[in-house]
Point group: C2
Chain length 333, copies 2
Amino acid sequence: MQLKEIGEFGFIERFKPWFGDLLGSDITGIGDDCAILPMNDEEELVVTTDLLMENIHFLRDAITPNQLGYKSLAVNLSDIAAMGATPIRSFLSIAIPKEIEIEFLDAFMLGYRKISAKYATPLLGGDTTKSAKDLAINVCVIGKCRKGTARRRSMAQAGDIIYVTGNLGDSAAGLGLILNAANKSPDAQYLIDKHHQPEPRINEGQFLATQHAVHAMMDISDGIASDLYHILKASGKSAEINLDLLPHSDAFTKIVGKYNWNASELAVAGGEDYELLFTVDKECSDQLKSDFEKQFGKPLFPIGVIAEGTGIITWQSNGKSISMGKAGFNHFL
Amino acid sequence: MQLKEIGEFGFIERFKPWFGDLLGSDITGIGDDCAILPMNDEEELVVTTDLLMENIHFLRDAITPNQLGYKSLAVNLSDIAAMGATPIRSFLSIAIPKEIEIEFLDAFMLGYRKISAKYATPLLGGDTTKSAKDLAINVCVIGKCRKGTARRRSMAQAGDIIYVTGNLGDSAAGLGLILNAANKSPDAQYLIDKHHQPEPRINEGQFLATQHAVHAMMDISDGIASDLYHILKASGKSAEINLDLLPHSDAFTKIVGKYNWNASELAVAGGEDYELLFTVDKECSDQLKSDFEKQFGKPLFPIGVIAEGTGIITWQSNGKSISMGKAGFNHFL
């Protein structure tokens, strides 16, 4: 049997039970943006790791080495943000094909250093080795948070308003431009840069974790069709999403119109936006939205509601609606 | 400029200063088997990560998937052992080429689970993704130790006796057999298994960390010519090693004789033995050796002494001796 028949999540579900009995009952095991470990009386540790492979996650000729260094740490910091935690240290493993020049590696490390300094997450160790073919980059980030404040995927409650912190689809449109179009307009460059150098919502995540009204939270790495499904599955809930409420950048709207791309598909199934997706107690929703906007000088976007049910997302647009599980979104569009 | 001109350690030296100012003065930065982080009043955390790449660190057709899973965690546990710490949690990132079957992955995860259970180090998270060509495996292990007890490379003192916990060269001879010989004898299989399924010296490391007489410690991953040099550089010392004292297995001696391989070269520069290399206050050396043997029912092997100096290793054998830095060992043999 090949991996594609059960998928990566199917593989994880397969071996997860083999490790369950090795864990104490007070420990969060496999299955959230970060693992949570005890630290001391006031704090907990959160840990995340992401592996970026050449020709799967990036094309060496399309991304600059500086952006690649930045992005390698950024996607991990995004997982820390999703817990509402503060990143403290990072570890970098890199497997380097022999034709790569030191100048490439210097630029990579300077990009890594830039975001490392921005979010006070120094590099503390790692592994440097050879690769037979593809450049491989694994980053592990350790963060901390006040005990009991980490936001998990399992915390969504029926009636919660579903929010995102920013525009959806920019990164997927940027990838479309890299792969299919020779467009050098400022709008195209904006979207390509969003794909190559995403910004983790560390500050936003930390603020949201101080708000009792914020329940489940995760970051948008695979697209909300997949990411929201994880929240629903972990929380035992369903959801209704209004596609007409999804926030888009002006650049996205213009480029999508120009190439006649499907905006909803890019926004919902494209992924790599690294905004935060979270659910909020409906009684406190307006107040939270207003407090967030005061704090950050930018809006929050309500896109739907959590409902009773078991892992079904109902997508609404222009008065039409359809309900389906995780895999079905593409058939709707 | 290409990486091979400065090597992997040259690359690390290049970017290390860029991160120094991001670290507090109380934190151990890049450059030991593990990084050390504050945890609470009694304990510190140690963290290590290793990236194994197909066709660099292993051949998919030579090692069984079960052994590969075991080894992926074992080489990281060996770094934890080198600090004298206790492993507590592991994180696995794996990039999987499309032709790999689920049965391979199941066997891999069962090998990983076997050693995970043996040393009480459950898998807590990670990343599963596709690879365009080579199987890539990154493991990160978090351990803990009593505050101030972690053994660093910088702790060697002049006069210390240098010890190793077990035989040297088995793994390198095993690799030689995999690459060059079709020998299926029990001796050959013993050495190949030592290469494919090394045993981390967790229990030995923990015992040694309780002994005040034990100063610097590290694990033997690259071979003592390179590994000892790291201790000497970090400690600002030199060393004398008696090649005639290096411990060898019977299988090693037989196979090396049969193929007329250079035993000292395999033992000193071959690497991947994952025994512990450590230095001991000479006044307490005999007592420690005897206590260790009582505790573990196996001997410790003194192989040389630490001397004043700056990173020079003097190798002695059959009354001959020669002094050199890190790179020179192969020219001596």
